[in-house]
């Protein structure tokens, strides 16, 4: 098992390196000059050149890339061009917001998806299944930003149950402020989760041990919860893992809509302001986060289901 984990961790290196490399060259291909943007149109060419030199933008692209790799490998992520503070400091403030949002979103997604899947499986071709399918289709069709703004409008502004956005001081207030954003990111993955979970539950309920359960005269609830749901949780974990990757991307949009000071909104600001170091640091963080989630998923899967455990 340890050897497997180590091998998987080593396999992550080329993926993360690839992501970082792409984001580096992508950002350096963007039209415009960050130094000129920063100083404004009226600044003299001399001061722009001086700033370019200070930021290392006057070096060749290859040299900048090597520089960046060396720094990143030693944990130096540099200074933000736009915010003006060290990126490690910025991440220290913003990463927890995004992580908390992802965690809450994942928990909510599971809390919404599992009952819906069970309901749909239990009724198979009945009204409940149709209702769940309709819910799925409608939610899947709604863009994330639209769900977010509707929640803000009706639960934030009209009824004032939840704050309409922002990130207040104090943990209980913060948790409360994250409810609507978490529901929004959760709804982004719920349709696919329900669909896959339902498919897996239907398949399991057709298997022989379930038929045996019926033959033994077990009641419906017991068969559904103890046999079907429990066994589908194995497939559910791997589906959830893949979806959490999508959820990480969703935080980008949701943090923007709810004005949350997380990593996603920082990345958005950074992209729009050509803040190279921040874009690279954030994509690096997101990529590491996503591949780690995939890794943990595979490990949990292996622990839950001995059949896929690596020999």
């Amino acid at each position: 098992m340890t050897a497997y984990v180590v091998r998987r961790l080593l396999l992550l290196v080329p993926v993360v390196l690839g992501v970082v490399t792409i984001s580096f060259f992508l950002m350096h291909m963007t039209p415009g000059d960050p130094a000129r943007d920063f100083l404004g149109d009226r600044a003299s060419q001399q001061s722009v050149d001086a700033l370019r030199h200070k930021w290392g933008l006057d070096q060749s692209l290859g040299a900048q890339y090597l520089h960046f790799l060396r720094d990143a490998a030693t944990g130096h992520l540099g200074t933000s061009l736009y915010f003006g503070s060290p990126i490690t400091h910025l991440l220290g403030v913003r990463l927890p917001v995004t992580l908390l949002l992802m965690l809450l979103g994942t928990v909510l997604a599971v809390l919404i998806s599992v009952p819906l899947s069970v309901l749909s499986t239990a009724s198979r071709r009945g009204y409940a299944a149709t209702a769940v399918r309709a819910f799925n289709a409608v939610v899947q069709g709604m863009p994330t930003f639209f769900i977010g703004s509707m929640l803000i409008l009706f639960l934030g502004l009209r009824t004032r149950v939840f704050p309409a956005g922002g990130y207040p001081e104090g943990f209980p207030h913060r948790l409360w402020a994250l409810v609507l954003p978490a529901v929004t990111v959760a709804l982004g993955i719920v349709p696919l989760l329900v669909r896959s979970l339902n498919a897996s539950m239907v398949e399991i309920s057709r298997s022989e041990f379930v038929a045996f359960g019926w033959a033994k005269g077990l009641d419906r609830a017991r068969i559904l919860l103890h046999y079907v749901v429990r066994n589908s949780s194995i497939a559910g974990i791997s589906i959830l893992g893949i979806q959490v990757g999508a959820l990480a991307g969703g935080t980008l949009v949701v943090e923007q809509v709810f004005a949350l000071p997380g990593m996603g909104s920082m990345l958005m600001t950074a992209i729009l302001n050509r803040d190279y170091p921040v874009v690279q640091a954030c994509t690096l963080c997101f990529a590491v986060l996503v591949v780690l989630v995939y890794l943990v998923t595979d490990l949990v899967y292996a622990v839950l289901d001995p059949r896929v455990r690596p020999s």
């Binding site: 992501v19 069709g141 639209f146 409008l153 980008l252």
Partner: protein, 292 residues
């Protein structure tokens, strides 16, 4: 003996039939309802010039924020532009991009997945590692960065979506090919001396492409989502060209003032389009007997 017997190799080489005749005649409500809904939406968008006399970009401050009726079927926005007209023309823009943006990833992804799955080896390894990298990027990060690099507008959206979404097709098809590769009829084809390309394109491809077709319906739904989201953030369709995302983001400023229709009408269009596509996708999956 009444006819000439077909040589074994030729019999094996008959194209594998995918579209079973009459599969549409089977009881398949989802496919019909979805197809009809999608047909109506596409028709409305395509016939936009015949269905409205207003220019979608023409402003008229004197008739700003009018309610439905009053000469404007769905009212007007804050600049006095006709909502019905913007909805139809916006649909033209969004739907055409969403549909066309599926073509390149579909063709590319299916070909890459088929070849990788069939050939295997270092090529498969290399391509799948590239796919891993693309997937490790949070979707919107890559798309927004690409659109930002390439500049707003249709072409950038096409490229950004294509760069990201071929991976899903390649993975789906590759997984299918891996299973199919060792089936008897493929081995029979190889054993009877058919060339690699012939086996791949005539026998493997037709059997795996159905999965990709079904997936492409959800892919179009996602494309619509991406296009409207990009426009919402000001990175997509450049105003004054109408588009549903732009309409929603514009209408949002007036939500608090009680002008819900400006946001809800384009949102309803997006949801209905997605609903239609999902139904068609489910119906196709059912018709082609694919378990999803």
């Amino acid at each position: 003996m009444t006819g000439t017997p077909i040589p074994v190799a030729e019999a094996i080489d008959l194209p594998t039939r995918v579209w079973a005749p009459g599969f549409l005649r089977r009881h398949n409500l989802q496919l019909w309802v979805g197809g009809a809904l999608l047909g109506v939406i596409v028709l409305l968008a395509a016939l936009a010039p015949l269905l409205t006399s207003y220019d979608p970009a023409e402003t008229d401050p004197a008739s700003a924020l009018l309610g439905p009726g009053s000469g404007h079927l769905l009212g007007t926005d804050n600049l006095g532009r006709d909502t019905w007209s913007r909805l139809l023309y916006g649909g033209r823009v969004d739907l055409s991009i969403a549909f066309i943006a599926v073509l390149v990833p579909f063709v590319g992804g299916v070909l890459i997945g088929t070849v990788c799955g069939y050939v295997g080896g270092w090529l498969d390894m290399l391509v799948m590692r590239i796919a891993d990298i693309v997937v490790a990027f949070p979707f919107y990060v890559l798309v927004i960065a690409l659109v930002f690099v390439l500049g707003s507008g249709r072409q950038s959206i096409f490229i950004a979506i294509s760069v990201v979404s071929w991976v899903a097709y390649a993975r789906i098809v590759r997984a299918e090919v891996l299973v199919l590769r060792n089936r008897e009829f493929i081995e029979a084809g190889r054993a009877s001396g058919l060339g690699g390309p012939r086996v791949v394109f005539r026998h493997v491809l037709p059997n795996v492409v159905t999965q990709a077709i079904v997936y492409s319906m959800s892919d179009i739904v996602m494309n619509v989502g991406v296009i409207v989201t990009l426009s919402y953030f000001g990175l997509g369709i450049v105003p004054p060209t109408p588009d549903w995302g732009g309409m929603m983001s514009n209408g949002q400023q007036f939500l608090a003032g009680g002008y819900y229709s400006l946001t809800l009408i384009p949102a309803a269009a997006v949801v209905l389009t997605s609903l239609a596509l999902s139904l068609v996708g489910d119906g196709l999956a059912h018709a082609l007997r694919i378990n999803r």
